[in-house]
């Protein structure tokens, strides 16, 4: 029986090793003709160089802002939908999930149409006479935050909704029955009980935002470089394997650290 079970796993495991684990580890620690020592030396230089530091700080900062905005907008959507008895709630939930299926190139392209100098917002501001010339909205941190929020908000809604759907709506009513008002009920019953799910949602959004490529590339360009666009430049334009590996290491460690912290927090929350 044991031997047969192993046979079920082996083909998949072989592909996983050959086309994922081994190449990833080899690339991160010893790219062609470069020793692990050189990669770490390059990593050390990067973390002290002001230009590279600015990229790391921008990536972390924008990632945090996008996470806060996505939870701040996504949790209320999930809360209202999970507590609604309207027949429109199903349609609104589907509208919030649908963008997950749509190509991120298509979604991000929408912001070029909205924010570009010939686009809707600058033209509207000109028509209203609020500005003298079309303002530069593309290639700004604001453009990246808007674009990444659009990409990751559906994820925040779905993850928050799953957490909120598990909180029995009867508990809301019990708290109201005991005399708590709506605000009090929300903050002392609904939020604490759905908290672990929100931590999961925030982790997914943050990890996605600090590694996304399409949106920073189209909306940030070379003026607002992030780790992902910088990694692409090192790997395809300058072909600097050591710098590419060091940048990839920063991204990978960042994502693993956040995922690890989040599951630690979830475990703490479960035992307390």
């Amino acid at each position: 029986m044991r031997g047969r079970t192993a046979l079920l796993v082996l083909p998949g495991l072989a592909i996983l090793l050959v086309a994922f684990l081994i190449p990833s580890i080899a690339m991160l620690f010893s790219p062609p003709g470069i020793s692990p020592g050189e990669v770490f030396a390059r990593l050390g230089r990067m973390l002290t160089d002001p230009y590279d530091q600015a990229i790391v700080v921008r990536t972390l900062g924008l990632g945090l802002i996008v996470t806060v905005v996505c939870i701040g907008l996504g949790y209320p959507i999930a809360y209202l939908l999970s507590r609604s008895t309207s027949r429109w709630a199903g349609v609104l939930l589907a509208l919030a999930i649908f963008p997950l299926l749509l190509s991120s190139v298509v979604r991000t392209f929408g912001w070029l149409v909205v924010l570009g100098s010939q686009g809707a917002i600058p033209q509207l501001l000109l028509t209203l006479g609020l500005v003298d010339s079309a303002p530069q909205l593309l290639y700004t941190p604001l453009a990246i935050v808007l674009g990444l929020t659009q990409i990751f908000l559906p994820l925040a809604v779905v993850a928050s909704y799953s957490a909120l759907a598990q909180v029995d709506a009867g508990l809301d009513e019990a708290a109201r029955g005991l005399g708590a008002n709506r605000t009090r009920t929300f903050w002392s019953v609904v939020v604490p009980l759905s908290g672990p799910g929100v931590v999961v949602a925030a982790t997914l959004v943050f990890a996605g935002a600090v590694t996304a490529y399409t949106t920073p590339y189209l909306l940030g360009g070379s003026r607002q470089r992030m780790l992902s666009t910088q990694l692409y430049t090192y790997s395809s334009t300058t072909i600097d394997w050591a710098a590419a590996s060091a940048t990839a290491l920063i991204m990978t460690v960042l994502v693993f650290a956040v995922s690890g912290l989040s599951s630690l927090a979830a475990r703490r929350g479960a035992t307390s």
Binding site: G12, F20, P31, P76, R107, T211, L218
Partner: protein, 265 residues
Amino acid sequence: MRTRHPIAASLAVGGYVVMLVPILFVVVTAFTAGSTLRFPPDGFSLRWFEAALTYEPFTSSLLSSLMLAAISAVLALALGVPVALAVHRGALPGRSVVEGLFLSPLIVPELVVGLALYQQLMVGFGLDNFQTLLLGHTVLMFPYAVRVTGASLALIDPAVEDAARGLGASPGRTFLSVTLPLLRPGLFSAALLSFITSFNNVPLSLLLQSRDFRTLPVVMLDYVQQNYDPIVAAISVLILAGTVLVAVIAERTVGFARVFGGINR
């Protein structure tokens, strides 16, 4: 809808605006008669749809993307479903480690995986870019194949399978005539999720392009960077229409929110 939560409701409206309004602008722009991406559009025409459908890089890369997504979804299921079976039914030592390994492609940044496969398999090992893309996309879909079919498998009562075995069916026969039919919604969900994920992928595919085989999202990304005309809006609307079709198929079969949100409603 009337609401007793005015603050939550206004935040929610803001969220929907950010998620959906840019898509509406793409749709409106695609029907312009003018030759730039300006707003408001200059008149109405279908010329950009004609342009998009006759622009060879878009049509050939569309076919490449569809083919890649279909083959890699089938491969991921063929290799991933046995793993789900082993994890949920077999006497597998270290099953949580095995499951964790198969879910790990979700955590490592896709751009990093793309660079690793480009550098180690294409440059280092001499694989061509289609083979590398196929391997990469298959691995990227393992998490869906293992977790979605696994969740579906966990809902099937093993007693049903035991009954079939007790009545004399072989393990293979039991799988084919008992487990597999019950597993169908899970398999269908995993296949749709995998197909969509592969078709839309940019970060993993980005470094794995060649002149002979390129995927549509990457071709579009290049085009947008160099040109500023409504042809991308037109191809975007066609992709939007295809995506709506996939959503409708999902809703009619397993349930849209269940396939794509993991939500039972």
